[in-house]
Symmetry: C2
Subunit: 150 residues, 2 copies
């Protein structure tokens, strides 16, 4: 097995191809990581979420890290790590057009609504507050493993 | 689809069943998340790694969070989040017996050595410094989704 750093282009390709990643945020240096459904476009990642622990934390500390991968098997996989800044699109200063764009991207998957709901355990659907947010990408790096014989 | 909080027993079961998770650490409130291969036993998680960014960060801030899941499809999945403290087993005060225990657990997967090597991109295998570490679990919580019809 060989492991190589991927190009920025390969990182982008993976982020376009997969829709589930793991988003890490941090508060008082306690990290927290959850699975998220996302939609990528150059320099930005869009995520829809209910307001729970991760949103409350990112509102206080907007530094985030998202990891996504495509694992074929233990010697054939690729992983991408993105660092960036949380930006809530529901804040008044951001255009409705951006929220609609995010919604349209994420709605391409008919189950897009399901995963964020998991974060509310009280079953009171009517009380769920939702937000769209964007991660403005600051850095992106990737690794790819492949069988030695390739 | 219904989503329910799982019991501690169900969390343990998932951590025993899966061996790949995502480990988040944090430095100066910048989170960082990477895929890891782990081995769980009650109250502890063992991980083998080369010395890279995550080890350097965890040596400075031992607060960590590990997420693992078992995703059947978008309406049938389970996810577990663990918070805990990094403890390096290679430090002199910790017994060799613990390191051997970690090694034995992780070596059950013949590919266990492969993934940590991915973190070194320079190809100088002879220069790779490796560590075993343990996460002492402080909290563990899980969510499970299942079709409404179940």
């Amino acid at each position: 097995m060989r492991i190589v750093a991927t190009s920025q282009h390969e990182c982008s390709d993976l982020l376009k191809r997969v829709s589930i990643g793991r988003l890490a945020c941090s508060l008082d240096n306690q990290p927290y990581v959850v699975p998220v459904r996302f939609s990528y476009e150059p320099d930005r990642i869009y995520i829809f979420s209910t307001v729970g622990k991760k949103i409350k934390w990112m509102r206080q500390n907007p530094k985030v890290c998202l990891q996504a991968d495509d694992i074929g098997n233990s010697s054939n996989w690729m992983s991408v790590i993105v660092t960036g800044t949380y930006l809530e699109l529901s804040e008044p200063q951001y255009h409705t057009a951006q929220r609609e764009h995010a919604r349209a991207l994420l709605a391409q998957d008919s189950q897009w609504w399901r995963i964020p709901l998991s974060e509310r355990r009280d079953g009171l659907v009517s009380s769920i507050e939702t937000v769209f947010f964007r991660i403005d990408i600051e850095s992106m790096s990737g690794l790819r493993a492949m069988p030695e014989t390739e």
